[in-house]
Amino acid sequence: MTDVASSSGAMEGGRGHFLANLPSGWGTVASVAGAWIVLIIASGLHRADFLSHQTLLAITFTMAIVGVLAVAQALIGISGGILDLSQPTALVLSASVVAWLLERGVPLPVVIVAGILVGAAWGLLNALIIVFGKLNPIIVTLGTNFIGQAVMFLVFQTAQAPINSDLVAFGRGYFLGLPNIWWPMAILVLLVGYFLPRTRYGLRAIAVGGNRLAAQARGISLKKTRFIVFSASGAVVGLAAILFASSNGPFSPTAGSTFQLPVIASVILAGVSLSGGRGSIWMILLSVAFLSTVPTSLVFFGLSSNWQAVFQGAILVVAVAIDGWRARRTLR
């Protein structure tokens, strides 16, 4: 995993001017990988049984949904859309549509497409308000999240994919010793990470995030890019929702909010700048792996799960502080 991420840093550093303002990818890779390895070694020394297949399953299971959501969040961040705070609503909305369709016996492929489309539609809705209102995405998504969760509560209190459905069977299965739901995440990260800096739309998104005026001067439509990025990001959230529905029991309209912080933290740890224009998607695999190891390690250190939030929050504060310090030094 480390190799993949490192090569991504090296690759992007060497690319043309669109990515010229990328930070030294190696520094980010080395610090996150270092922290991760220290965490694994410390946990392993404390309790030798930490280094087990069971731990690997717990970590990869946690990684799946956070990783997919992190890709969606990174797309927004890299393109200069700052943050999408409505991900929790999009996730549960899509997941509940998936559950609802499965209950009515709709075939799985149709359900999957529908789940992804609902996510994309939500992203498009946000983009419509952002683009036509010329409003800041953070506030818009804060508002739509507020509204969306309230509307969902008016419609349902809990939802769940039918236990005997193929989707739930998939969500409980394993492939090559890892949870089934881990694989779509890994493939998505690899594909998006590969194609983002190599395709026209990907490069446009990066250009708009880096310097929107320069991008505009080169004939890139800001509006069109925003529509595409937000819809694509929403579609990715739709994919996360399918994995979520497949692997979770009954969920309430607020069930998505637990992902918010780990997702934002892993995107920032992956070196995606909240001010846009830089970030490696492949790095997400590493940062999500690190953050997903924390809860399992805490259990092995005998700390209650209540410590999880303390550590995640503290890691985020430290990560953004380092990020800010680095950005300030680059400016000088």
């Binding site: 509560f153 929050g313 985020l316 502080a321 800010g324």
Partner: protein, 334 residues
């Protein structure tokens, strides 16, 4: 909602004309008009009971602590550093005070120790944001989550802590006529904050830092000191709020203050503040924004309508308010 509907009396002669126009199209006026609209809806839908003494007491005690927190947090927003951690800071403050009282400490000692701890966490925010230059939203979001974790740790295993202090309970639930004492205190604090912001040099400095920090630096204002101080102040306000909740409720829970940051900032944005840029907003607008939200939720409450409609209305008001702010000259996002 629209500012134009107030109809500026442009016939007034002399130097007042521009000032009147500013007031008529300003954020405080549009939120005041919104509040009047809420009151009219309340009176026509619920009847005169909407403004009865008992209902005013209910609204007042509901909105008092958030308003007090807003009075302190307004400086951080003005200085351009939004502090998202206040929701958990309130919870932490409640839990720590209650835990210390449960452990046999006197109420005042527990309160002082709690405030010191809140200031320490505020200083961590300040170090991350001001000294290291961390993204404010991300850093204080981290603090929000970390402090919520501390709440869980303090309130384990049951999730709640009883901390009943008869004198403090009596004080926090006292009323002057129909108005709760805490509400009056919150109003006084809002007034003081408004005077500081509009009438003093310190207030102008805070606004300058939030408006354009580089220009403020050139003018010889210490951006670092103003922003650090503003973050300390917002932590202090949340700390005081949390302690008052212990008095009001006689207990603390690991969920105390959850989501309060969004409620307070949504109301403040409805009242003319911006969480994306500093330098705009007036504490009076914040107070009116909170009253609009409290009034709306009270109307829906009395009519036994699902409280989720409140969130829908607040969300729509929020979007309308930021749109209005942009039309008034706020930064356009493209």
């Amino acid at each position: 909602m629209s500012a134009e509907t107030t109809g500026a009396p442009t016939s007034v002669s002399g130097f007042d004309r521009h000032r009147l126009r500013d007031i008529a199209t300003g954020s405080v006026t549009s939120i005041a008009v919104t509040l009047v609209a809420v009151i009219v809806v309340g009176l026509s839908w619920i009847g005169p009971n909407f403004l009865s003494a008992s209902n005013v007491t209910i609204i007042g005690s509901f909105v008092a602590v958030p308003m007090l927190i807003a009075a302190f947090a307004s400086f951080a927003l003005l200085a351009g550093v939004v502090d998202l951690s206040i929701g958990s800071m309130v919870g932490f403050s409640s839990c720590m005070t209650a835990a210390l009282v449960t452990a046999g400490r006197p109420m005042w000692g527990a309160a002082l120790a709690t405030l010191a701890a809140c200031l320490a966490f505020g200083a961590v925010n300040g170090i991350a944001v001001v000294i290291f230059g961390a993204d404010t939203i991300a850093a204080t979001l981290g603090m929000l989550v970390a402090l919520r974790g501390v709440c869980y740790l303090l309130a384990q295993p049951s999730g709640s802590l009883a901390a009943f202090d008869a004198d403090f309970y009596a004080f926090t639930n006292m009323t002057i006529g129909p108005l709760p004492v805490l509400f009056v205190i919150a109003l006084v604090l809002i007034a003081i904050a408004a005077i500081i912001v509009t009438r003093t040099r310190l207030g102008r400095h805070v606004q300058a830092v939030g408006g354009d920090d580089r220009a403020a630096t050139r003018a010889g204002i210490s951006v670092t000191r103003v922003r650090f101080g503003a973050l300390l102040l917002s932590a202090l306000g949340a700390g005081v709020g949390g302690i008052l909740y212990v008095g009001q409720l006689g207990s603390a829970s690991n969920l105390t203050g959850t989501g309060l940051e969004f409620q307070v900032y949504a109301a403040m944005m409805i009242g003319g503040y911006s969480i994306m840029r500093g330098g705009v907003g007036n504490p009076i607008g914040a107070a009116l924004g909170l009253l609009v939200v409290a009034g709306t939720s009270n109307i829906l409450d009395v009519q036994a309508i699902s409280p989720y409609f409140t969130n829908i209305i607040v969300g729509l008001l929020l979007l309308a308010a930021v749109l209005l702010d942009r039309l008034r000259g706020g930064d356009a996002y493209e």
